[in-house]
């Protein structure tokens, strides 16, 4: 493949703009097609289903494809109480999801253990997985879940995947264009 050459305009500026656009394009693609892994464990799963149904329509955000196989998912929505018995299974499913992946802790039980301060309930899924967005509520209304999804989209749009994961390539491209 022919190497790129700078043209009439200032290649240093245009070089940076290319990175930003690449990341921006990548983030735009990722955030608008977040396929959820519905880890629906308890009552919050009902509200998750309601959000996916026609009235609140999570499909507007590209997230209607709720594949139950973790291999095909981007974001795990932990919806419901995580008992210690189920905790390691949730972790196993999370580990089977391919990168890039995010986690939404939906509801009080997934965020902090909720009303169940007991011997059998994990006090928040963030004790096992890295959570990106916490949604409070018991259960959160579908609008709250959609607001959390939009917060996650904002977080994704600020990511620097290309620059962080392929720093040598980013550097070489910058050098080639300057």
């Amino acid at each position: 493949m022919a190497e790129t050459h700078a043209t009439a305009y200032d290649s240093k500026i245009e070089g940076n703009v290319i990175f930003t656009r690449f990341d921006a394009a990548l983030n735009w693609v990722r955030k608008n097609s977040l396929w959820p892994m519905p880890m629906g464990l308890a009552c919050c799963a009902i509200e998750l289903m309601a959000t996916a149904a026609s009235r609140f329509d999570i499909s507007r955000f590209g997230a209607e494809v709720m594949r139950f196989s973790p291999r095909q998912c981007d974001v795990m929505i932990v919806a419901g109480t995580v008992t210690y018995k189920m905790a390691l299974a949730v972790k196993r499913i999370y580990e089977q999801m391919p990168e890039p992946k995010w986690v939404i802790a939906m509801g009080a039980c997934a965020s902090t253990g909720g009303m169940y301060r007991s011997y059998a309930v994990l006090q928040g899924i963030d004790q096992l997985l890295p959570v990106d967005v916490y949604i409070s509520g018991c259960p959160p209304r579908p609008e709250a879940l959609l607001a959390g999804l939009m917060k996650l989209q904002e977080k994704i749009s600020g990511e620097r995947a290309f620059r962080d994961q392929a720093p040598q390539l980013a550097e070489r491209l910058e050098e080639a264009l300057t």
Binding site: Y84, K85, A87, L88, G113, M115, R117, S118, Y119, A120, V121, L122, Q123, Q127
Partner: protein, 206 residues
């Protein structure tokens, strides 16, 4: 519509039969029954653990208490015998309830199963084993049902703390102690409204 006098007669017949049923139970097992209590129309018999299967078969076959509603267990920590097992029976032909209570000590720690008499007892007895540690002789599949096999404690015993105890079975499950700082997250029984019963409305006990 039922003919006049049809419904009351049926009602009387039903009551008499269940009354007769209770009395025949009394008559047949007089020497074994330690205590019979009646409270607001509910009948409770305290029985010995050794008579459980005989009484259970009699209740099901002769008195037609064919529906075991519930088996539950009570931990009377500090009393001897420690555990109390309560059976709630219901007779569908007669519409009568019956409660059987028996005590089992911690050293013995086991009673006979009734899961071949009422199959629903299977899971109830597994729950009692899981939560209290009382074993059931002759149970087809006595293992934990709510916690996982290998969990080392019996959570509903009175000497098990509310916050739980740490345990670890690698690749199976782990437990931690729940943070309970900030006071008891329970209300006290009272006639006040829910706003005043709210636990954080109480002054913190230091």
């Amino acid at each position: 519509m039922l003919p006049a006098g049809g419904a009351p007669a049926l009602q009387r017949h039903k009551q008499m039969t269940s009354q007769e049923a209770i009395e025949s139970l009394n008559k047949w097992f007089e020497e074994n029954l330690q205590k019979k209590t009646e409270f607001r129309g509910e009948t409770t018999y305290a029985i010995a653990a050794s008579d459980l299967r005989e009484i259970a078969k009699f209740c099901r076959d002769d008195l037609s208490f064919d529906y075991l509603l519930d088996i539950t267990s009570i931990d009377n920590f500090g009393e001897e015998p420690r555990f109390e097992i309560v059976y709630h029976l219901y007779s569908m032909p007669h519409g009568a309830h019956l409660r059987l209570k028996l005590r089992v000590s911690e050293e013995l720690g086991a009673i006979d199963t009734v899961s071949d008499i009422w199959p629903t007892a299977d899971w109830h007895e597994r729950e009692i084993y899981d939560m209290m540690g009382v074993k059931f002789n002759g149970h087809p599949d006595l293992r934990r049902i709510l916690m996982w096999d290998g969990y080392p404690f019996f959570p509903l015993r009175k000497d098990f703390p509310l916050a739980g105890l740490p345990s670890d079975m690698p690749d199976v499950a782990f437990t931690k102690v729940t943070p309970l700082e900030g006071g008891p997250f329970v209300t006290v029984p009272s006639t006040a409204g829910s706003k005043d019963r709210e636990p954080r409305a109480r002054p913190r006990e230091l």
